[in-house]
């Protein structure tokens, strides 16, 4: 039951205007990366001294790729924000759910549809940027692969949580939550990694939310010799993100089983 429903959910996601916006953002991201990575010896000059392009790349690559992973995660959350709530509100979901289809299968199919578009956009965005970074500046491909994996797991977790929230909150509220909380968590994770002391709500968010920022930092850190030791944490953080992805899916299934239709 899951496969035909997921295929339809993917087709439905592709037909939405938001999919065009997401595709546009992904292409814009690659275009930006193309512009940002187009430098070589003599491009950067400070106090009359040419800056070593390898040094610039060592700082630029983690920043650029990390930002794009975060963008990918946010896009996944935005796509999921109403991909289940909309057919429920319109009533078109009732026809599918009157078939011998489990609530869980339907919800996971809608999640898969939203993630399908997000992953395609992520592949363009992160794949294009990685090719530019690795090809132009001779950086290792490993951090890009680990970073993309962190992004994929983070996207699945955030999309699952966003879709669950959409069963109880309006679209604007879910979009606002995704658009603010994901960057906020990444920011406070980064501040914490830089040694900042975080108390209260921010500390709680740092400890309790999916470690998106820390996982991204750990993934891309090997590109920079000054922070490469952060990379040791990557396997553990990927495992935590995988657990969050599973938890997001489980929460979605459990939440949707409790929802009365039509909403």
């Amino acid at each position: 039951m899951l496969a035909p429903l997921a295929a339809e959910a993917l087709r439905d996601a592709l037909r939405r205007r938001l999919a065009l916006v997401v595709a546009g953002v992904a292409l814009l991201g690659v275009a930006s990366a193309e512009s940002c990575t187009a430098f070589g010896p003599g491009t950067w000059v400070v106090d009359g001294q040419s800056v070593d392009p390898e040094l610039v790349a060592a700082w630029l690559a983690p920043l650029l790729f990390g930002f794009e992973i975060l963008l990918f995660v946010v896009l996944a959350g935005l796509l999921a924000a109403d991909h289940l709530a909309r057919p429920l509100a319109e009533g078109s979901a009732l026809l599918w759910l009157a078939r011998p289809v489990g609530r869980g299968a339907y919800a996971l199919a809608r999640l898969a549809g939203a993630l399908g578009v997000a992953y395609a956009a992520g592949a363009v965005l992160l794949g294009g940027t990685a090719v530019l970074l690795v090809g132009r500046h001779d950086l290792a491909a490993g951090p890009a692969v680990v970073g993309a994996l962190a992004g994929a797991l983070g996207a699945a977790g955030v999309a699952g949580l966003a879709m669950s929230a959409s069963l109880w909150l309006g679209r604007v509220a879910v979009v606002t939550l995704v658009g603010t909380l994901v960057p906020l968590v990444a920011l406070i994770n980064t501040l914490r990694a830089a040694g900042a002391r975080l108390d209260g709500f921010l500390g709680l968010l740092d400890r309790g939310a999916p470690p998106l920022g820390r996982a991204i930092l750990a993934a891309v850190a090997p590109w920079n010799p000054h922070v490469s030791d952060l990379g040791a944490e990557a396997p553990r953080l990927l495992a935590v993100l995988a657990a969050w992805a599973l938890a997001g899916g489980a929460l979605l299934v459990l939440s949707f089983r409790r929802v009365e239709l039509p909403r």
Binding site: R11, D12, L94, L95, A98, R99, P100, V101, A105, E260
Partner: protein, 237 residues
């Protein structure tokens, strides 16, 4: 054998009681018209039977199963009152997906889809997007998906909504054919004349309560029409 059952089903939405202690048993092969004024609880009863909502008290059973169990909806065709078709899907693609979800595969799926297109008279439009169809054609599509694979139980909520007189006559024919092959029908409708023609039992709801149920000739007194009986049962004393 019981096809569907509501056993003391009560459904409350906050302070509003949509259904109160409804007992309704529909035996296999029966054709029951579920009648009542607007807001009487007809659609709520269908929602409980399909597992879209849980009763606040009491129970619903569909084919002997809890309607939340997907197995309960095997062999069920449903036509909702407000039909919202996915606008950008093609008609044939829509029916093929429904057939797949109904458990039909391979040639059986193709045959079922083509038969439903033929029966409901929409074969020529099979390649079109659902969003471009008129209300009446949309209702025919709704019937086509409900009739896919010749389900043993049909739940139809205001089935003639949006149909022109020819469409109403066709719908009557589709329902009669389903009855002839032994399907169980539960039809929620305002159109009493249609219920009188297509059903052998009626259940009349008023303000969430069952005020009458049984064979048509037991509910309707001699010399009365179904409309007379309906007015007598739901009008204030």
């Amino acid at each position: 054998m019981v096809a569907l059952e509501l056993a003391g089903a009560t459904k409350r939405y906050g302070r509003h009681t949509a259904l109160e202690d409804l007992h309704l048993v529909v035996p296999a092969g029966a054709a029951v018209g579920l009648l009542g004024p607007n807001g009487a609880g007809k659609t709520t009863a269908l929602r409980l039977l399909l597992g879209f909502a849980r009763p606040t008290r009491g129970a619903a059973r569909l084919g002997g199963h809890d309607p939340y169990d997907p197995r309960a909806r095997q062999g069920v065709g449903y036509l909702p009152e407000r039909l919202n078709l996915p606008a950008s899907m093609s008609l044939r693609g829509f029916l093929r997906l429904h057939a797949a979800l109904a458990g039909l595969a391979g040639d059986a799926r193709t045959r079922a889809v083509e038969a439903a297109l033929e029966t409901t008279g929409i074969r020529e439009r099979a390649g079109e997007a659902l969003g471009g169809l008129s209300r009446g054609l949309g209702q025919r599509v709704g019937f086509a998906q409900a009739l896919l694979g010749e389900p043993q139980l049909l739940l139809l909520d205001e089935p003639t909504t949006g149909l022109d007189p020819l469409g109403v006559r066709d719908a009557r024919d589709w329902i009669a054919r389903a009855r002839a092959r032994g399907a169980t029908l539960l039809i929620s409708s305002h159109v009493l004349s249609e219920v009188e023609r297509t059903c052998d039992h009626v259940a009349i709801l008023h303000q969430g309560r069952l005020v009458a149920s049984g064979p048509l000739d037991a509910v309707v007194r001699p010399g009365e029409s179904l409309e007379d009986a309906f007015v007598r049962l739901v009008s204030p004393p």
